[in-house]
C-alpha cells in the first residue's frame, strides 16, 4: 500500500494541471469529469489504503513513501516524503471523501458559471495542497501544503473577481493567515536549531529527550506553532478573516472554510502534541483561546442575518471547541469533533448554498422563510445538520463528539470548571442560533419566491452527508452509555489518552446539564423567533441591547480595532511616503547644485564694469586679510 500513497495527492494535482492548462478548450462535461473525477478517484484510493491500513496495521504504525529529496544544504535536508498514520488517515479520509461529495455538488451548483474550469482547477489544487499538508512527513512540506491551501482559499474567496469587495475579503484572508504563518515559520527555525531536523517523527522522538517538562523552549516553540494554527483556524485573535471569506461560492465555504482548511490548526497541534504536552502553559493557552473563541463567535452567530455568516461564526465557534479539547489534552475528542463537524458543517453550507441559489442569491435569513414544505429534501437534510450542530442528544452525531469535549473540559487533568462552564454556555448559544436559523429559513411565511429546485447532483451529496451527520457518532460512545471506542482506539496509536482527574465518574450529571443547555437554547429561539416575535421588537427598544447587538454583530469590534491600530497607520505611512523621503535628500543636493551654478553664472554677465568691480573688491579683500593676519 506504500506505493499507492503518492496517488492520493497526485490525482487532484493532475486534475489541476489539466484544467489549468487546457481548461478553456475542454467542454463543460469534461471539466466536470476531470474536476470531480480526480478527487473521487483519490477518495477511492484512500479507501483502498484505509482498508489495508485497518485490516493489516503496519508494524510501525504508518505508511511512508519518499518521492525525492527536496534540497540538501548544510545538514538541512527536507524530503518530499508522504507519511500516513492513523491521524493523517482520518484527515485524508475526510478531505477526499467530503471533497469528492462537494465536487459532485459543485458540478451542478456552478453549472452556469462562466469560469467553470477555473473553479475546478482551484478546487483540485486545494484538495492537493490539503492532502500534502496532512500527509507531509516534515514540517517544511507541511508548510508547503499550509501555504498552498492559503493560496487556494484566496483564489476561491475572490472567485467572483469583478466585485472588489470579494477581492478585499480574499486578500484579508490571505494576509491575516500569513501573519500566523510567519510566526509558524519562525517556529520552524527554532525547531531546526533545536533538533537539527524538521522531520516530524524525529522531532517528536527527540523533544522529550531534549526538553524537560515545562521547558521554556518548548513553550516558545509551541506558541509559535500555535500562532500558525490560530491564523489558519480563525481563532482569537486572528479570526476576523473567516466571516468575510463567505464571499466565495458556497461549495468553497463548505470545503475550505468549514470542513478542511480551517481545521489545519487542529491538525498541526494534534500532530505536534508532544511539544504541547511538554509545555503546560502553552496547552493552557490553547484551551483558553478555544474557550474564548467559541464564546465570542457564538454570540456573533446569534446576531447575524446572512445565513452564511451565521455558519461562518458557528465554524469559528466549533473549532474553538476543538482547540479547547486539544488544550485540555483530550486529543482524540478534538479529532472526533473535527470529523463530525466536517460532516455536518459541509452539509449545512451545501444546503445553505442550495437555499441561496433557489432564492435567487438571497443571503438574508429574514427574507427567507416557509421553505419547510417547498424544499423537503433541503429541509430534512438541513434539519439533520442543525441537530448535529446543536448537539441534539442521543440521535445526532454532534452530541457524541461535543459531549466528550464538555466532559473532558471539566474532568481531564488540565480541565477546570470555568472552561467547562464556558463550553456549556457555548452549547446553549449554539443551540439557540441554530434553532433561530432553522426557524427563520424554514418556518414562518415565505418571503421570497423560489426558483428552480436543486437537482440530483446536489441533493444526493446532501443526503449522504446527512446520513453521516446522524450516524457517524455511533462509532464512539460515552463511557456510561455503550462505551464504544472504535475511533479513539484507532487514534490512540498516535495520540495519547486523556488523563482524568482522580475520582471522576459522574459523567451522567454532565450529560444531563448538556442536555438541558441544548434544549434551553432551542427553547429560547423558539420563544423569540416563533412563539412571540414581538419580544424581539421590545428588546430592540433598549439602547443597551441595541449597542450590544451591534457589538456582537460586528464580531466584537475586532475589525475596527485592527484597522485603527495596524492597518490605518501603515497605510498612512505608506501613502505620505509615496515619493520616498530618502530621494528628497538627493533631490536637495541637485537643487543646491543648480542654485549654486545659477548664482555663479549670474556673475559672468559680460559687463566690463562688473568684472573690474569684482577685481577691485577681490584685491581689497585679499589685502585686508593679509593686513589683519
Amino acid at each position: 500500500m506504500n506505493n499507492l500513497l503518492w496517488l492520493v495527492p497526485a490525482l487532484p494535482f493532475a486534475g489541476f494541471l489539466i484544467l489549468a492548462l487546457a481548461g478553456k478548450q475542454l467542454s463543460r462535461v469534461w471539466v466536470a469529469m476531470i474536476g470531480a473525477g480526480s478527487v473521487s478517484l483519490s477518495a477511492i484510493v484512500v479507501l483502498i489504503i484505509g482498508i489495508s491500513f485497518l485490516s493489516q496495521p503496519p508494524a510501525n504504525g504508518n505508511y511512508s513513501q519518499t518521492l525525492w529529496t527536496w534540497m540538501q544544504v548544510a545538514g538541512f535536508n527536507p524530503k518530499i516524503t508522504l507519511f500516513l498514520d492513523a491521524l493523517s488517515l482520518v484527515f485524508v479520509f475526510v478531505i477526499t471523501f467530503i471533497g469528492a461529495l462537494i465536487h459532485i455538488y459543485s458540478v451542478a451548483f456552478m453549472a452556469d458559471d462562466k469560469d467553470y474550469s477555473r473553479f475546478f482547477a482551484c478546487m483540485n489544487l486545494f484538495v492537493f495542497s490539503m492532502l500534502l499538508l496532512v500527509l507531509a512527513d516534515n514540517l517544511l512540506l507541511l508548510y508547503l501544503g499550509w501555504e498552498g491551501v492559503g493560496l487556494c482559499s484566496y483564489l476561491l474567496i475572490g472567485f467572483w473577481y469583478e466585485n472588489p469587495a470579494n477581492g478585499y475579503a480574499a486578500r484579508k484572508a490571505f494576509i491575516i493567515t500569513r501573519v500566523g504563518d510567519t510566526a509558524m515559520a519562525i517556529g520552524l527555525f527554532v525547531i531546526f536549531y533545536q533538533f537539527g531536523t524538521l522531520a516530524i517523527p524525529d522531532v517528536l522522538a527527540k523533544a522529550p529527550v531534549l526538553w524537560h517538562q515545562g521547558a521554556q523552549m518548548a513553550t516558545i516553540t509551541a506558541l509559535l506553532l500555535l500562532a500558525g494554527g490560530v491564523g489558519k483556524s480563525a481563532q482569537l485573535p486572528l479570526q476576523t478573516w473567516l466571516p468575510d471569506a463567505m464571499a466565495g461560492p458556497s461549495p468553497v465555504s463548505a470545503l475550505i472554510h468549514a470542513a478542511t482548511m480551517v481545521t489545519a490548526g487542529v491538525y498541526l497541534i494534534a500532530r505536534m502534541h508532544i511539544i504541547f504536552q511538554l509545555s503546560p502553559i502553552a496547552q493552557m493557552i490553547v484551551a483558553v483561546i478555544g474557550a474564548a473563541t467559541l464564546f465570542i463567535a457564538g454570540f456573533s452567530a446569534l446576531t447575524q442575518y446572512d445565513i452564511k455568516r451565521v455558519l461562518a461564526y458557528s465554524t469559528i465557534s466549533q473549532i474553538g471547541y476543538m482547540f479547547l479539547a486539544l488544550g485540555v489534552g483530550a486529543w482524540t475528542a478534538a479529532i472526533f469533533h473535527f470529523m463530525i463537524h466536517a460532516f455536518f458543517k459541509a452539509l449545512l453550507f451545501l444546503a445553505a448554498g442550495a437555499v441561496i441559489e433557489t432564492l435567487h442569491h438571497e443571503h438574508n435569513m429574514f427574507k427567507m422563510g416557509g421553505l419547510k414544505n417547498k424544499l423537503p429534501v433541503i429541509f430534512w437534510t438541513f434539519l439533520i445538520g442543525s441537530a448535529s450542530l446543536a448537539a441534539l442528544p442521543l440521535i445526532s452525531a454532534g452530541f457524541y463528539s461535543k459531549d466528550q469535549i464538555l466532559w473532558y473540559a471539566w474532568a481531564s487533568e488540565s480541565g477546570n470548571p470555568l472552561l467547562w462552564f464556558i463550553a456549556l454556555l457555548g452549547a446553549f448559544i449554539t443551540a439557540a442560533y441554530t434553532a433561530r436559523m432553522m426557524i427563520l429559513v424554514f418556518w414562518g411565511e415565505a418571503k421570497t419566491e423560489i426558483g428552480h429546485h436543486p437537482g440530483k447532483l446536489m441533493t444526493v451529496p446532501l443526503i449522504i452527508l446527512a446520513f453521516f451527520s446522524l450516524f457517524a457518532g455511533f462509532i464512539e460512545l460515552p463511557h456510561n452509555f455503550g462505551h464504544l471506542t472504535l475511533f479513539s482506539n484507532l487514534l490512540h496509536q498516535v495520540l495519547p489518552e486523556a488523563v482524568l482527574k482522580a475520582g471522576m465518574n459522574t459523567e451522567l450529571q454532565f450529560q444531563i446539564l448538556a442536555f438541558l443547555s441544548t434544549f434551553g437554547g432551542i427553547y429560547l429561539a423558539y420563544i423569540f423567533y416563533y412563539k412571540q416575535p414581538q419580544r424581539i421588537e421590545k428588546l430592540k427598544q433598549s439602547g443597551f441591547v441595541m449597542n450590544l447587538y451591534l457589538f456582537w454583530f460586528s464580531g466584537w469590534g475586532f475589525d475596527k480595532l485592527y484597522n485603527v491600530l495596524i492597518v490605518n497607520p501603515v497605510v498612512f505611512i505608506a501613502n505620505i511616503n509615496k515619493s520616498d523621503v530618502v530621494d528628497k535628500l538627493y533631490q536637495g543636493i541637485t537643487f543646491v547644485t543648480i542654485r549654486l551654478y545659477r548664482f555663479l553664472s549670474f556673475t559672468q554677465s559680460g559687463s566690463l564694469r562688473w568684472y573690474i568691480m569684482g577685481l577691485v573688491i577681490g584685491a581689497i579683500i585679499i589685502l585686508s586679510i593679509q593686513i589683519m593676519l
Partner: protein
C-alpha cells in the same frame, strides 16, 4: 578559452548588429538572438558536463582559469576564471539575455542596430564582471556595463528617460570611483608589503592590512556594491531607472545588474576583508532589514507598475545583504538562490509590465483593473509571479528566502524576526498588484489581446524555471556549494569562537548575542 569566447561573441555580435542595422532593421535582432543563444548553449552544456565533477571535488572551486598578461608593468593581466557562483550567474545572464532580445522583438523600431549593440555590450560587461579575476579588469568591465545601459535608458526609455539615465549614471559612477580608489589603495598596500605590484585577485587575497585601513578600503568596495544592489538609503536611482528604461533594460537591470552588486560582495568584500566584514556585519544586516521593510512599504503605495516592482526589488535585495552577512552556509545558499530566483521572477514581472504597457499605453495601475476577463492567461501567470514574489512554497523564491532566514536565525534572532515581518508585507503588495491589474470590474471598451506565441514562450521559460527551482533546487545548490563552503570556512573559525561564548543561540539569549556581534 570558453570564457573569452563568451565575451568576444557578445561584443562581436554587438558590432555586427550595429553595422548591419544600417541596412536592415530586422537583422540586428536576429543577430542578437543568435549570439546570445550560442553563448547560452555553450555555457549550459559546459554546466551539464562539469556538474558531476562539481559535486566530487569540493576543494577545487575553480573550473576554468585563463590568464594572459595585459599591462605587465603595472601588474595588470587579462585574467578570467569561473567557479560555481560565476557559472550560475553567467548562465543566468545568457538566459535573461535571450529573453531580453525576445521581449523587445517588436518594441524597438528606431535605431535597432545601436539598440542591440548596447544590449549585447551590457551583457558582455556583465559577463566580464562575473569572470574577471584581476581587479583592474573587473573595474574595466564594471564600467563597460554602465555606459551602454546609460544609452539604453536615455535613448529608448519613456518620458522622463534623460533624468533617469543621468541619475543612474551618477549614482553608479560616483560609487564606482570609490571602488577604484579602494582598488588602487589595495594595490599599493600589497605592493609595499610584498614588493609585488599586482591587481591579481588571487595574490591580493590575504593581504595584511591594518584593521583601520582595511575598514575604509572595504567601505570603498562596499559602497560601490550596495549602491548597485541597492540597499537603503542608496536605492533611489533604481525606481527611476527601472520605470523609465525600456522593457529589456528593466529586465537586465533587475535581473542582472543588481546581482553584480551581490556578486561583488561575495567575491571581493568578504574574502579580501574578512575581519572588516565581520565588524561591519551587524550594520549590514541592519541595513538589509531596513531595506526589506522600507522597500515593501514603499512598494505598497506606488501606483506606477514598474516603480512598484522596482521597490519590491529593494525589499528582496534586503534579504540578500542580510543573508550574506550571516556568514553561514544556509544563508549563503539562500543568497545564491535569491539572486537567481529574484532575477527570474522580478524580470518576469517587468516583462509583463512591458506587455501591459504595449497594450494599454500606461503604467498606472489605477487605470488598469479587470483584465482577467480578457487576458486569463496573463492573469494566471501574473498570479504565479505574485505568489513567487511573496514567497509561496513550491516556487524558487521561497527556497531562497527560507534558507536566508533560516541561516540568519543562527546569526541574529531579532533581525530575523523583523525580516520575517517582511513576508507579511510582501503578501500585501504582491496581492495588490494582482488585484489592481487583473481583478475588479473592467471599464475598458476596447478589446485587449492575450499572450502572443512569442510572449508565451518567454513566460513559459520563466515560470518553468521558477517552479523547477522551487521543487528541485539541488543543481543550483550543488553548483554554488564549493564556493560557499570556502567562504564559510573563512568565517567559521571566528564563528567557532563566538559559539564558545554562546553554546546555542536561542531567542532567550539573543540580546547577549546581538551585543557580542557588535563588539
Amino acid at each position: 578559452m570558453i570564457l573569452i569566447y563568451t565575451i568576444v561573441i557578445l561584443m562581436g555580435g554587438g558590432l555586427l548588429a550595429f553595422l548591419l542595422g544600417q541596412w536592415n532593421k530586422s537583422l540586428p535582432r536576429w543577430i542578437a538572438l543568435c549570439t546570445v543563444s550560442v553563448g547560452f548553449v555553450v555555457l549550459v552544456s559546459f554546466w551539464i558536463e562539469r556538474y558531476r565533477a562539481v559535486n566530487i571535488h569540493l576543494s577545487n572551486t575553480w573550473m576554468i582559469d585563463y590568464r594572459h598578461d595585459w599591462i605587465p608593468s603595472f601588474g595588470i593581466s587579462f585574467h578570467l576564471a569561473i567557479d560555481g557562483l560565476s557559472l550560475l550567474l553567467l548562465v543566468l545572464t545568457f538566459f535573461l539575455g535571450i529573453l531580453a532580445v525576445l521581449c523587445s522583438w517588436n518594441e524597438v523600431k528606431e535605431r535597432a542596430g545601436f539598440y542591440h549593440f548596447n544590449l549585447l555590450w551590457i551583457l558582455a560587461g556583465i559577463s566580464g564582471v562575473f569572470m574577471a579575476m584581476d581587479l583592474f579588469l573587473f573595474y574595466f568591465f564594471w564600467e563597460i556595463m554602465l555606459i551602454p545601459m546609460y544609452f539604453l535608458i536615455g535613448i529608448w526609455g519613456s518620458e522622463n528617460r534623460v533624468y533617469a539615465a543621468c541619475k543612474f549614471f551618477i549614482f553608479t559612477q560616483a560609487s564606482g570611483l570609490l571602488m577604484l580608489l579602494a582598488i588602487i589603495g589595495l594595490y599599493f598596500i600589497h605592493g609595499r608589503n610584498t614588493g609585488i605590484y599586482t591587481f591579481n585577485y588571487f595574490e591580493l587575497l590575504g593581504t595584511a592590512i591594518s584593521p583601520n585601513v582595511a575598514f575604509w578600503l572595504m567601505m570603498g568596495f562596499m559602497i560601490a556594491f550596495v549602491v548597485k544592489l541597492p540597499i537603503v538609503p542608496f536605492h533611489t536611482w533604481l525606481p527611476d531607472a527601472h520605470s523609465e528604461a525600456p522593457t529589456a533594460g528593466s529586465l537586465i537591470l533587475a535581473g542582472l545588474l543588481l546581482k553584480t552588486g551581490a556578486y561583488g560582495i561575495l567575491r571581493f568584500v568578504l574574502p579580501l576583508f574578512p575581519e572588516a566584514s565581520r565588524v561591519f556585519a551587524p550594520w549590514a544586516m541592519l541595513f538589509g532589514v531596513i531595506g526589506i521593510i522600507y522597500g515593501a512599504i514603499l512598494a505598497y503605495s506606488q501606483t506606477d507598475l514598474k516603480r512598484l516592482v522596482a521597490y519590491t526589488s529593494v525589499s528582496h535585495m534586503g534579504f540578500v545583504i542580510l543573508g550574506i552577512f550571516a556568514f553561514n552556509e544556509l544563508a549563503l545558499q539562500g543568497v545564491v538562490m535569491q539572486l537567481v530566483t529574484h532575477a527570474i521572477s522580478t524580470g518576469a514581472l517587468f516583462i509583463m509590465a512591458g506587455m501591459l504597457k504595449e497594450r494599454l499605453h500606461t503604467r498606472d495601475i489605477n487605470q488598469m483593473g479587470g483584465l482577467w476577463a480578457q487576458m486569463p492567461q496573463m492573469g494566471a501567470i501574473a498570479m504565479l509571479l505574485a505568489m513567487a514574489s511573496l514567497g509561496l512554497p513550491g516556487l524558487g523564491n521561497f527556497i531562497a528566502e527560507f534558507l536566508i532566514l533560516l541561516g540568519t536565525f543562527k546569526a541574529n534572532v531579532l533581525l530575523t524576526v523583523i525580516a520575517a515581518i517582511g513576508l507579511v508585507f510582501s503578501a500585501i503588495y504582491s496581492l495588490r498588484i494582482v488585484q489592481k491589474v487583473f481583478l475588479g470590474p473592467s471599464e475598458r471598451s476596447y478589446q485587449v489581446r492575450d499572450f502572443s506565441f512569442r510572449e508565451i514562450v518567454i513566460m513559459a521559460a520563466l515560470t518553468l524555471s521558477i517552479v523547477w527551482l522551487g521543487l528541485y533546487p539541488q543543481p543550483v545548490i550543488n553548483t554554488a556549494k564549493p564556493m560557499i563552503m570556502k567562504l564559510e570556512h573563512i568565517f567559521s573559525a571566528e564563528n567557532k569562537n563566538m559559539e564558545k561564548e554562546n553554546p546555542s543561540v536561542t531567542p532567550l539569549n539573543m540580546h547577549k548575542y546581538l551585543v557580542n556581534n557588535k563588539e
